[in-house]
């Protein structure tokens, strides 16, 4: 069965304390892996798409990487405004599957 698992469920960091979020997946025919950020009461905001193992993408303090079984979202020197839920999703033929997300809280 296709599935996406994210860990940890919740993460508290001090401002400037770097860390990584994990997204492991089991899917037949992976077409792409996506990272989104979601603030409370809002729709998800697109961050990255990764297509093949070894691929990396960066945006400001965020860097996403992909292997054949998992993806990591690395957050370098986070700021309080990075606090949000980070969602991972995969695209397999004709459907999208989301994980349950990692709730990140960055303390000043």
């Amino acid at each position: 069965e296709d599935q996406v698992t994210q860990s940890p469920e919740a993460l508290r960091l001090q401002e400037g304390e770097s860390s990584s979020l994990n997204c492991s997946y089991t899917v037949s025919g992976l077409r792409g892996l996506f990272w989104y950020r979601q603030d409370p009461g809002k729709g998800p905001e697109f961050l990255f798409t990764l297509y093949s193992a070894g691929e990396e993408k960066e945006k400001e303090r965020l860097k996403a990487t992909l292997t054949k079984k998992e993806s990591f979202l690395h957050i370098t020197a986070p700021k309080p405004e990075d606090s949000a839920t980070y969602l991972c999703a995969v695209h397999s033929p004709y459907k999208y599957i989301f994980g349950t997300g990692t709730r990140l809280k960055v303390l000043a």
Binding site: R31, T100, G101
Partner: protein, 114 residues
């Protein structure tokens, strides 16, 4: 440019009733997808439409249906509402179908079934 818009913002319905949710995609986008998000969970894929045809369907009962209009806007219909249908319903649009086209989400419609 306007992003994805959804209406209404909030909705309260009674069990057994029917509901219609609406979505207008970003200008130029031809694909619309619908998701259900229960509090504390990730979005669950319901449908994807591209060029007015259904191109993907998640594991939802036949009470859920959707359509896409010639202007690429879309409606999600849910019949015989259950308490468990209470959720945030999200619409996402993309230029076309497929993983190479990024999905942009609207703010959602909060549905409460009593």
């Amino acid at each position: 440019d306007a992003g994805v818009t959804q209406s209404p913002t909030h909705l309260i319905k009674t069990r057994g009733q029917h509901v219609t949710l609406r979505c207008s995609p970003i200008s130029g986008h031809k694909s619309v997808s619908w998701y259900q998000q229960v509090l504390g969970q990730g979005p669950q894929f319901i449908f994807q439409y591209y060029e007015k045809e259904e191109r993907g369907r998640g594991n939802f009962p036949d009470r859920f249906s959707a359509r896409q209009f010639p202007n690429y806007s879309s409606e999600l219909n849910v019949n015989a509402l259950l308490l468990g249908d209470s959720a945030l319903y999200l619409c996402a649009s993309s230029l076309a179908q497929g993983a190479r086209y990024e999905q942009y989400f609207g703010p959602g419609t909060r549905l409460t079934v009593t």
